[in-house]
């Protein structure tokens, strides 16, 4: 059925958007590295593929005049979810361009911000790409070369969003969410069908919160 397919694709896009944001947050910090830039590039491309697929599917469904009112309401809801996802992606892409330009990797004195994050982001990227392990094959100049590609991709996304606005007439205020406030506290069944092929670290979360920690300072 069209709906289930849509939901799966939307879930996938949602997952990639979340991972992409996570990766962009690490840009410019001590977690930044050549690998991160490559991860960003790969995740971004995946996101775009999914975006285009989603858009095609949803526009065909919405253009179909013969669907029932309920169906139409559901597709409009999915459309709003899709556009929200694209919004986040667009902002993150623009920001990654900005930060990527401000923090080039191959300079004599690297001035990455020492934020306390030192681990790698491989697992996040692997989750985004739905693979077990990431393979890195880019060359050293990826931080500058990729930025040019990124610029064109941002222009493409902008254009796509403009077209979407023009072609599909969906009134956001007419859409009602299925979830009520606080729904996230219930079981982790997501709105669509969540994709299962992910790696998750089963580390237990300690009960103590981070704020109010009395840290013993040790001189490095």
């Amino acid at each position: 059925m069209g709906k289930d397919e849509c939901k799966t694709m939307l879930d996938a896009l949602n997952k990639v958007t979340a991972c992409y944001r996570h990766l962009v947050i690490a840009l410019g910090s001590t977690s930044d590295s050549q690998n991160l830039r490559e991860e960003l590039k790969k995740t971004r491309k995946k996101a775009q593929e999914l975006a285009v697929a989603n858009r095609t599917k949803l526009t065909t469904l919405l253009k179909d005049k013969s669907i029932s009112k309920d169906d139409r309401a559901e597709y409009e809801r999915l459309w709003v979810l899709f556009t929200s996802s694209m919004e986040l992606l667009e902002v993150d892409m623009k920001r990654s361009l900005e930060i990527g330009q401000d923090f080039p990797l191959k300079v004599p004195t690297r001035h990455l911000i020492q934020t306390g994050m030192t681990g790698s982001t491989t697992t996040v990227a692997a989750r985004a790409m739905s693979v077990q392990n990431m393979k890195y094959e880019a060359d050293a100049s990826i931080d500058t070369v990729d930025l040019k590609e990124l610029e064109t991709e941002i222009a493409q996304v902008d254009q796509m969003m403009e077209e979407m606005e023009m072609k599909v007439q969906v009134a956001p205020w007419a859409v009602e969410a299925k979830q009520e406030a606080g729904a996230e506290l219930k079981s982790t069944v997501s709105v669509g069908n969540s994709s299962v092929g992910v790696i998750s670290i089963c580390e237990e979360e300690p009960k103590e919160t981070v704020e109010g920690e009395t840290g013993l300072m040790k001189v490095q």
Binding site: L27, T83, S85, M117, T123, T188, S200
Partner: protein
């Protein structure tokens, strides 16, 4: 979809310059040789690097910029206030303490940015994540924000939930130390961007510009216009701050005796003593003006013209010199500029008949070029058609008649005659407070019950001990 605050091509917000400067300083703090000394933060079993103490920051600033203690502390405070550095011990208290309290740098994505203001969608996702992590135990104001957002962006709420869950799953992929840092960072960012009620907003993004028709084509035409615009901006007249500050100081010195707040006003400040003699003595039509007022006319031509009495005196003087038509013309032009649009054609016509036509009764002397241009414009009269002519006459008066007026007998006599009001005698009993009563206002008339309470409160308001007061 949420309304996009990112504007279309061509109308991008700029990063505020002060923020750019702060960013540069933060980056220079990262220098492996000259930067700040960093330590490890030990949390029970995890060790997180890249922490620094407040005193480290202050000392580094003092050393790097050779500034005083106070100034370094102030700059450090700015860093914390704008979220470039966040405290580890008391995250909600965004101040810099010059002791061994720990701080850490914020990641560039979460830097304060006027180019990328935080959106409601982001905040909603953050609150949803926090909700999940804390199992529903949000702080009061966060709960309110959550509910408000749920109503406002309800159409995309499913997305909020989906994205919140996915973001949490993504962060679970990192190791423990990084996860803690991520949480701290995000929390610090939102404490700065969405401060809890009662704290000041750090930054003013300015009004949002929702220009719907800014979809510009990025073609040659557009770029030509941009180049032209930038070229004109470069050629703009600029004044060195040393020069304009000098004239600013001069202006302040000149006007200080005239400022009622700085210098006090004679006979007395009506707002304090309820005595309106000050206003009466300075009203438009008065037999003898005050000395300050007449002195003010010598400061600039505009001062003279703006005061109705000054204008009248000047007119009298011009009549003696047989050049009164200049001032009349100027006044008529002002009338056209500031008057009703419907009356403009007839007014302009009048002006032409009286002042501009050859053989007019009060012909004004305008140079031929301006006259030609004005006559041309009179064919299609609009509000500003007489501007050039008016400007010409204005400068004529300013350069010629005005200085002579200031040296004339007329002005000097007036200045000699002008009075300096006496300060009202202070009451014999200076500690007697004047009865205050609120002015009769329609609102009060309908609330007779509360009147007594109000009157009692106003009577207890104390006035300045030094001001005059009468029973």
């Amino acid at each position: 979809m949420t309304i996009n605050t990112l504007s279309q091509d061509g109308v991008q917000r700029q990063q505020m310059p002060c923020l750019t400067k702060m960013e540069r300083m933060i980056i220079s703090m990262q220098d492996p040789d000259m930067g700040i000394k960093l330590r490890n933060q030990r949390l029970l079993i995890t060790v997180i690097p890249h922490a620094m103490t407040g005193i480290d920051i202050v000392e580094w600033l003092i050393k790097k910029f050779s500034i005083s203690d106070e100034e370094a502390l102030h700059i450090g405070q700015l860093f914390v206030k704008y979220g470039y550095i966040y405290p580890l011990k008391e995250p909600r208290n965004l101040i810099l303490k010059a002791d061994d309290s720990p701080y850490r740098f914020q990641t560039p994505y979460y830097w304060m940015s006027t180019r990328w203001p935080a959106s409601e969608l982001d905040y909603a996702i953050y609150l949803a994540k926090k909700n999940i992590r804390k199992q529903g135990e949000l702080i009061e104001y966060e709960k309110e924000c959550y509910n408000a957002l749920h109503k406002r962006i309800n159409h995309t709420w499913d997305f909020v939930v989906m994205q919140a869950r996915e973001q949490l799953r993504a962060s679970k992929q990192r190791r423990k130390a990084d996860r803690i840092v991520l949480e701290c960072q995000e929390q610090a960012y939102w404490l700065v961007t969405r401060p809890p009620p009662g704290t000041l907003d750090n930054i003013d993004y300015g009004p949002e510009r929702r220009t719907m028709n800014t979809r510009v084509q990025l073609n040659a035409e557009f770029y030509k216009k941009e180049i032209e615009h930038n070229r004109i901006s470069l050629a703009r007249n600029r004044v060195k701050s040393s020069i304009c500050l000098e004239s600013y100081v001069k202006y302040c010195e000149q006007y200080q005796p005239h400022d009622p707040i700085m210098q006090g006003c004679l006979p007395s400040n009506p707002w304090i003593t309820d005595d309106i003699m000050f206003w009466n003595m300075n009203s438009e039509v008065v037999a003898v003006p005050t000395k300050l007022r007449v002195e003010c006319w010598s400061f600039s031509f505009m001062e003279l013209l703006n005061d109705p009495m000054g204008r009248k005196e000047f007119l009298t003087y011009l009549e003696k010199e047989f050049s009164a038509e200049n001032l009349c013309f100027w006044q008529a032009c002002e009338d056209v500029r500031h008057g009703e649009t419907s009356k403009i054609p007839e007014k302009v016509d009048e002006v032409y008949k009286q002042f501009l036509s050859p053989g007019a009764s009060r012909w004004v002397n305008i140079d031929s070029k301006t006259m030609e241009k004005t006559l041309e414009g009179l064919k299609h009269p609009h509000r500003f058609v007489l501007d050039d002519a008016q400007m010409h006459i204005y400068f004529l008066m300013k350069k010629d008649s005005y200085p002579r007026y200031l040296k004339s007998e007329l002005y000097k006599n007036l200045l000699a005659r002008a009075i300096v009001p006496q300060e009202t005698k202070k009451s014999v009993f200076p500690f007697m407070r004047r009865q205050r009563h609120s002015s009769p206002s329609p609102a009060l008339a309908t609330q007779t019950g509360e009147d007594d309470g109000k009157a009692k409160n106003s009577n207890s308001v104390k006035s300045n001990s030094g001001t005059a007061s009468r029973l």
